[in-house]
Symmetry: C2
Subunit: 441 residues, 2 copies
């Protein structure tokens, strides 16, 4: 059965890419560098028709193989059905600028290396597609690379989870969700799954104990079934597994004791998305539109990928413009206020900032993230500046540094999915920029 | 082979719906009326998950069966991959209003009937999803029904063709396309097809002589192969037909002599779209964005459905907001000017207005469209007011009346695809409103 599944030309496409590290097996491959793999220079999708070897495809998964992936992350809607997150009509909120051209020259030493490099050089290392740095609420740095333009949209990958978590904690503060309750009180369908006796809080902080492997090298890993379930393409005739996210989630089995250890499992975000949909009676796309996107003065509509019955992928399917991601990061930094309007309850942001259980986090053994924790689907660095962030594979990030009054947002298309590949060139870079901005005032 | 194709659960979905009259066979069925079939009251896609009988699906074609179709036309991107038509960033152009509430009470006699009805009643007859009437450049009437909202998008169906035609004649006036040349001079791939010895002008006015039946009752009709080719879903293993629009078009065979008779065949629009893509080196989505959408002060991005290699469907795949369609109609009425900017050459609009060959048109035997003609993919009424229009199945329309200085735009979801079902309640209604507005000044 597993073999059948893998042989299916239809399902082998998978949405797996969105949540994990499909490139793991290839990590030792020598990849083209950022300049060599520039998606515009490579000429993806140019011509009528484009040359056969310049057409990334969804059905065979080639759209997400490097270097085609560099084009695809800026054009996800061209491969799959999507649901709109409307900004409504009317003007966007102006984004003031105060460009500091010195930022490109800021030097830092990548983790595990001895020679320092510049911020500008680091963008090549992480295959950045676009970066904005906000300081005191103004754009001090803005750059577009790869296939991204100022009016384009890019896959946020697992940064999506932090949007889901932010909606979740907002609804908690509004009294619609009680995080101490069991998940099964909201979603009876999950009664007999691993989530049945987990609290909503455990789901929000990913301390649920789940039998759920995201190891792509293992053909029996649960992530494959999850991806197949979420794939919007028609299932092959011999396919007898779950056909949607909502059919898959009740099949997740428990492994261990909830609440003891942080375990980064995408399905938690989809369960939280389900709870949000259930208590509001709306899709998370509508909830995000109404609660945030229409109030934030965004420039552009955004969108989620969806499964075969139109369920937005709460764990990794969000796509948005870079400036709008900067506005969102600034909203979080501003404790939920955009202009004069309190869009998200301040108490929700406080709850994110206070962080999660450090001991539980430590059990997950992230070599580069010592002392961090995870709360409401945000990563809390617990560094001296109180920085916290949203992180997605292939280098997507929203990095918020309250002490430096700084937000960094970045889209990227690193051939290696795992952030372990980006962090050495990112985490010390963010701290160096923060230091520079604190001095610069 | 034909049978195999029809049995395929994957391909039987088809995009056929977009261009023709899939409901033809059912025309004598008694449908739910507009109120009974209200897509919001019917509760499509509400719930997590929605009830199984309230989930329209693409793969089995149910999304385009009435009454689900009433929801689907306002949510096409949730069923298929799409390509964005960016409005860029920045503010939209204001749409001034001067609401005339009397319009709802305007009476007219439907074609072939004896009793008059009101404008308001006519909206129910045509299953309108949204209507805007512009007079002297201001909104005098605006209404949303069905599943459409002011910030939503709706399928334009064959109104798409008039966008393609407008781009085509604009490029003619700019000198990029010579309409007297043979199609094969631009697209050598079409050399051996029916289009090989047709002129671009014949394609633009649909006076090509094609073996291309859009009769859905006939399983051998070419429209089925065209739809299968354009379907973005993976093709079944035993499928050996064309897999994209660009693979299909060269297979179209000639039947008769070009230039003699009007024949409304969607493939002409896709050939023109191909020519536009070839001479500009861009997709028509990019061309439309750059030439019109970014300059028109639109409220919203728009989008096209695409085939398996991302080709926008120039014959019927456009989706846009109602207010933006009103802005486009006003642009045409204003001879290509939006505000102070000449966006489209006036000569291009003049060329549309002058109309096509009436004798060639008459040969197509449209009972309700006596004396009309077709030019640059617009329908020219040749009535006393010089009105002309864009028309799409299920009731989509842009109706431009220069004498009354009026534009009517409408989205609809009539269970019957053919405009022959809408025209009796539409054409005399437009004329009655024009008469009222001319008096009202």
């Amino acid at each position: 059965m597993k073999q059948t599944y893998f042989n299916s030309s239809i399902l082998f496409t998978c949405l797996a890419f969105i949540v994990g590290d499909i490139a793991n097996a290839q990590e030792k491959t020598k990849y083209l560098n950022a300049e060599q793999s520039d998606p515009i220079k490579m000429g993806w999708m140019v011509g009528s028709p484009p040359p056969a070897d310049r057409i990334p495809r969804f059905d065979d998964g080639s759209f997400f193989q490097f270097p085609a992936l560099r084009w695809s992350v800026a054009h996800m809607r061209q491969f799959m059905p999507t649901i709109n997150v409307s900004r409504g009509l009317g003007s966007s909120s102006p984004l003031e600028t105060n460009i500091k051209s010195d930022i490109d020259k800021i030097k830092f030493t990548p983790l595990g290396e001895k020679k320092s490099i510049t911020w500008e050089e680091s963008l090549q290392k992480v295959y950045a597609d676009g970066v904005i740095i906000m300081h005191h609420g103004k754009i001090v740095y803005e750059k577009y690379l790869g296939a991204l333009t100022v009016d384009g949209q890019h896959a946020a990958m697992s940064v999506t989870k932090s949007f889901t978590g932010t909606l979740g904690i907002s609804l908690v503060q509004e009294g619609l969700i009680d995080p101490t309750k069991l998940v099964s009180e909201y979603i009876p369908e999950l009664q007999n799954s691993a989530f049945g006796d987990a609290t909503v809080r455990q789901v929000m902080d990913m301390t649920t104990a789940l039998q759920f492997s995201e190891d792509y090298a293992d053909p029996n890993a649960e992530i494959w079934k999850f991806s197949a379930a979420g794939n919007p393409l028609p299932k092959p005739k011999n396919y007898d597994g779950p056909k949607t996210y909502y059919e898959y989630l009740p099949t997740v089995k428990k492994k261990g004791t909830h609440g003891e250890a942080f375990g980064y499992k995408t399905v938690n975000s989809d369960v939280l998305g389900w709870i949000i949909a259930r208590v509001t009676g709306k899709t998370i796309a509508e909830v995000l539109s109404e609660k945030i996107w229409k109030k934030l003065g965004t420039d552009q509509d955004a969108y989620y990928s969806v499964d075969a019955i139109g369920t937005p992928f709460a764990g990794g399917g969000y796509n948005l413009g870079l400036r709008d991601m900067a506005r969102f990061g600034q909203l979080i930094l501003n404790n939920g206020k955009a202009g004069d309007e309190q869009i998200i309850p301040k108490s929700a942001i406080d709850d994110i900032k206070k962080g999660g259980d450090k001991k539980a986090f430590a059990k997950a053994n992230y070599t580069l993230l010592k002392g961090w924790s995870y709360r409401n689907m945000w990563w809390i660095t617990n560094n001296a500046n109180g920085a916290f962030c949203a992180r997605g594979v292939h280098g997507q990030v929203i990095y918020i540094d309250p002490k430096a009054d700084m937000v960094i947002v970045r889209f990227a298309s690193n051939p290696v999915a795992s952030n372990a590949a980006n962090d050495p060139y990112s985490l010390p870079a963010y701290e160096a920029v923060a230091k520079y901005l604190i001095k610069a005032k």
